[in-house]
Amino acid sequence: MSKVRVMHYVNQFFAGIGGEEKADVPAGFLEGAVGPGKRLQALLGDSAEIVVTVYCGDNYFSNHVDQTLALILKIARERDIKLVAAGPAFASGRYGFVCAEASHSVSGALGLGCVTAMHPENPGVEMYKQYKDRTVYAFPTTEVVSGMEEALSKMAQCISKLAAGSIMGPPTLEGYIPRGFRRDEVKSESGAVRAVHMLLDKISGRSFFTEIPVEQLEAIPVAPPVTDLKSACLALITTSGVIPPGNPDGFRGYQDSKWGKYSIQKLDSMLDAEWDVIHGGYNTAFMKKNPNYGVPLDVCREIEKESVFASLYPSFYVTPGARGLLSVMHRLGREIALDMKENGVDGALLVST
């Protein structure tokens, strides 16, 4: 049986081209295993063969993302690559970023298994978690290169397993960084029995594993308070899906990946104009009848006239929030915040259904 063909991605340093002074070196490739790839190959033994090593300068990549990923895909196709290894990148942010992007790209375009490794706080891990590619596995490493052997060993085990066509188990068993998938499995005991055991373990101070880990969210930096409301410009945002009639911007009503901004400049109430509501997550009948429930324009105008605040921003912002992916919603939030800053908005009120 011929060995499974592996492509290995390393940065310019690990490819032996040079350090920071070579960070602008364009993407290229070398035959066979190079640098840490040689040790990786030794660990892989006969299970798989690193046939080509792709490298790229850490800075070059961020300015040439599309070209570099295209080259990686081209080589993968031409060389009949079956699995991709990337890194280990340790705590190097730029390197980790490429490992995550390259893995995502290869997984998406070719459906190949990708194995990478980096420190859990490497920004590449955030992308890995957001991309949630089913064929990408990232293993945790130390911050610095001293953990090379351990990192390569974890990568090699995973690559060998994938090369043999085995199915990877859950992260707690296999050691990769959780991607956030929940997979069905058959247990001999019912959920009720398992829950009681878990509770007893917890009460007795024994260790236990939850079957439904809750995603840990990072704290959101607190915005300073609006200190001078009387001179503030305020904007309204809604995730209720209130949009102009006919849905001119083509919102889907669920898992939307864009936001809109519609004028309310000449209106004293949302009832002064026609609106549609598109949202796949709640009964929109009340909102259709009176969109002030989601865009409280009528009372905001009243308060504006009383000079409690200086002015209402002349448009409201909207996205239908139904089944929104956290990563997408983060982006929409950033984009809306940026637009508000550019337009001199001092504070915002978000109404969510």
């Binding site: 308070p225 009340f286 009176n290 002030n292 429930y293 009528d298 009372v299 308060i303 969510s352």
Partner: protein, 73 residues
Amino acid sequence: MGFITAMSSMAIQLKANRVVTGTKIPHPCGDPNLSAEADRALRRTIMNCALASLQTDVKGPTMFSPDVTFTSG
């Protein structure tokens, strides 16, 4: 930013910093079972609370509950 939602405890869990409790999921800023006037007054109370939240210095997720009553609609 003040975040007005009927699911305020969930918003706190999701780490929103200034959460204002709205009435119900399909109509967070009002109550369609009330008369138009009372409905609007209820909305005003919620927005007043939201404006107060904007002016409050908070250290982390904080809930602001407007003093309102509404039907179960």
